[in-house]
């Protein structure tokens, strides 16, 4: 049966996985690491979800804290100093063994290691690096490693971390500095943005060097780049505030991803935060992710999606449809002649269908039947396009509100189910 030591490691894992789960990032993509030394593992670039939690999130990495002891007292965090919870700490060896053994069984793509801050930033960062170094050098581990940068750690340590990690991240935590100061005593944007800047500059320098020398000169620094996370719904920022913040992070720090984590009430006493029992803002979170996609893959400017006169995303329709309804003068778009960018903006047409349309129309004019076969969500798209055999859907007569009404009626069953099954939980 189970020995005391296996009991202990099981308990540690429960505590330290539970404490790490509020960091929503689990991506294992963006890095190509070959198994060049006949060691263990590789990274394929695309990322693999090995399973999904019961809340439907991808599980790709062993995501744990090294320890949940912390000298800080951030109100929105379960590990905050003043919280009365069980504390635990892994040894370096324990994290290494867990990672290797999970990896060999094809449970995971690698490790996502974060930590509460014990003693000080440098000591904590050193311990995280020790684990990554051991995996890479002693065990020839070529799987994915994501390390959290500890704000306040020295530049030298950050540089070393990037040599072993595929991705580095530091969380912005809250969408405005005012909120951060209110809820996280002792933390500042300056402190958080310093490692972000260092990482983005080092990556940039490496790219320049590579271009000059036509090859990668040194071991790659953080080949999967950096990401960050904001907790949303805990503080009063609007969707506009959040997305403009995200946009600035993409522009200024070359973020690979910005994550939005709907606040789960975990602090029963603090009146500055939504109380326990408040539903997590899941629909809002979803809409923010959709806007994020529109910015990264659909060529939308953040200013088109949100503005002073339109500061909150619609909750009943997605931001692309919402944009189209506010901009009916740009439609209908002719599928057989319009350029890719314009086709991509039609509601109901995604990146894949748009690309297929561009390829397929070289062989002949496309009609409704073919568009449906190509994966176009026609009930939505019909109001915004013309194609062979189908003229404009008399847009002139229909007002945006009517179109929205028609479209919503069309997919009500599908959509309202998802919404109500979420709502029924609360």
């Amino acid at each position: 049966m189970q020995t005391p030591s296996s009991e202990r490691i099981l308990e540690k894992l429960s505590i330290l996985a539970d404490a790490a789960k509020y960091d929503v990032s689990c991506s294992s993509s963006g890095s190509k690491r070959k198994n060049h030394n006949k060691g263990l593992g590789n990274s394929t670039g695309g990322g693999i979800c090995h399973t999904y939690t019961e809340d439907g999130r991808c599980v790709s990495l062993l995501k744990i804290l090294l320890t949940n002891h912390c000298i800080y007292d951030c109100a929105y965090c379960v590990s905050r100093k003043s919280n009365d919870i069980k504390r635990a700490a892994f040894t370096v060896e324990e994290v290494v063994e867990l990672t290797l053994n999970f990896y060999k069984r094809n449970y995971i793509e690698g490790l996502f290691l974060s930590s509460g801050i014990f003693k000080n930033a440098d000591t904590t960062m050193e311990r995280l690096i020790a684990i990554a170094r051991k995996l890479r050098t002693e065990h020839r581990f070529n799987g994915y490693i994501h390390l959290k940068s500890i704000p306040g750690a020295s530049n030298a340590l950050m540089q070393e971390a990037g040599l072993y990690a595929d991705r580095l991240s530091v969380n912005l935590e809250l969408p405005s500095e005012t909120s951060l100061q209110l809820l996280a005593p002792g933390k500042t944007y300056e402190q958080i943005k310093k490692p972000m800047l260092l990482v983005s500059q080092t990556i940039q320098a490496q790219a320049n060097e590579k271009r000059l020398l036509q090859r990668a000169a040194k071991p790659l620094f953080a080949p999967a780049g950096q990401s960050t996370q904001m907790v949303i719904g805990a503080t009063p920022e609007t969707d506009k505030d959040i997305m403009y913040q995200a946009n600035a992070l993409y522009q200024n720090y070359r973020m690979k991803r910005v994550y939005y984590s709907g606040y789960i009430p975990i602090n029963p006493t603090d009146t500055r935060l939504p109380g326990v029992g408040t539903p997590a803002p899941l629909i809002r979170e979803h809409r923010l992710y959709q806007s994020d996609w529109l910015m990264r893959f659909y060529g939308f400017q953040v200013t088109e999606l949100l503005s002073d006169s339109f500061p909150q995303l619609d909750s009943d329709i997605d931001p692309k449809l919402s944009w189209a309804l506010r901009n009916l003068h740009q439609f209908p778009v002719d599928i057989n002649t319009a350029d890719y960018e314009a086709i991509l903006r039609i509601p109901g047409i995604g990146v894949q269908s748009a690309q297929k349309i561009i390829s397929a129309r070289r062989f002949g004019q496309l009609d409704v039947y073919q568009l449906k076969k190509l994966g176009v969500a026609f009930n939505r798209a019909r109001y915004f396009l013309v194609c062979r055999g189908m003229g404009p859907a008399s847009l002139g007569d229909l007002q945006d509100r009517q179109i929205k009404h028609f479209i919503l009626a069309g997919y009500r069953s599908k959509f309202s189910n998802a919404v109500s099954s979420q709502l029924s939980l609360f």
């Binding site: 189970q2 296996s6 490691i9 099981l10 894992l13 429960s14 505590i15 996985a17 539970d18 790490a20 789960k21 509020y22 070959k34 198994n35 006949k38 060691g39 263990l40 593992g41 590789n42 394929t44 693999i48 979800c49 090995h50 399973t51 999904y52 939690t53 019961e54 809340d55 439907g56 999130r57 991808c58 599980v59 062993l62 995501k63 053994n101 999970f102 060999k104 069984r105 094809n106 449970y107 020839r140 709907g262 789960i264 997590a280 899941l282 297929k356 390829s359 397929a360 129309r361 070289r362 062989f363 002949g364 496309l366 073919q370 076969k373 190509l374 189910n417 998802a418 099954s421 939980l425």
Partner: protein, 256 residues
């Protein structure tokens, strides 16, 4: 004319050769184990001939390049009834056209192959994720799967690259064959073996697992539970990503 082949890929290519050789414009290709009953129409059994298969393969390569060959191969691995006939139609279209017909998504058979290949690709990707190895001792790792499509040939290179330093075996219990990689010879072998009495997904009666194996399975289950956020529970989404038919192979979803 109904052309019956043995179900192998060279067999299918030989059959396509035959359809051309005899100018059978109404050819219908059926694999022998999918033969429903003897139909009234004429039928003919085609023998697999490597030389013929290679000629078809090379001819196609000039027309549709590696990407197109992969499309055909993946569609074939779906084992879906009558996929062969869509393949034949696409081959005909490719051979008589000067364009890259693979991008003609308006052509119904071209589109069909893309759709099927996509499904096969999705399952390949799923099993690169869902295979769960058990350490059965001596650095041997074993997994058991029963995919809808015949994806073992597609996932083999991924596992070979990733687990170059351990020995592993993946067994398709639906098709009763497996692949085995030996870290010393660095070769992948195909093997046919039958575990007559082993219920799928449960090896214990026949394979002795490593002493640490139970602990790591327990740790993984514990991790899976601890990383869940109960307040966000979304069963519909969960099932969409991890359909029930895969649960019996997933350590974290298995009963007991």
């Amino acid at each position: 004319m109904q052309l019956i082949y043995d179900g192998s890929f060279p067999g299918l290519l030989s059959t396509i050769f035959t359809a051309y050789e005899y100018k059978l414009n109404d050819a219908l290709i059926v694999r022998t184990n999918q033969l429903q009953s003897l139909t009234l129409s004429e039928s003919m059994e085609v023998y697999t001939e490597t030389a013929k298969a290679e000629r078809v393969w090379k001819g196609l390569k000039k027309k549709i390049a590696a990407q197109g060959l992969e499309l055909i191969y993946r569609s074939y691995l779906s084992e879906l009834p009558s996929v062969e006939n869509s393949i034949l139609e696409v081959v005909r279209y490719a051979l008589q056209s000067d364009q890259n017909i693979l991008e003609d998504y308006g052509h119904s058979h071209v589109l069909t192959l893309h759709q099927i290949a996509r499904k096969v690709g999705r399952e390949k990707h799923r099993f690169e994720a869902f295979v769960r190895f058990e350490n059965i001792g001596n650095n041997w790792f074993y997994a058991d799967i029963a995919p809808d499509f015949n994806i073992l040939p597609l996932i083999a290179p991924h596992f070979k690259e990733r687990y170059a330093a351990q020995n592993w075996m993946i067994y398709d219990s639906k098709r009763k064959y497996g692949i085995q990689y030996d870290s010393v010879s660095e070769q992948i072998n195909e093997l046919t073996f039958r575990f007559e009495h082993a219920p799928a997904g449960n090896l214990s009666p026949i394979v002795q697992t490593d002493p640490d194996e139970k602990l790591y399975q327990e740790l993984w289950k514990r991790y899976f539970k601890s990383t869940n956020i109960a307040l966000r529970k979304n069963t519909k989404l969960h099932l969409q990503h991890v359909p029930k038919r895969y649960w019996r192979y997933l350590t974290e979803k298995k009963e007991s």
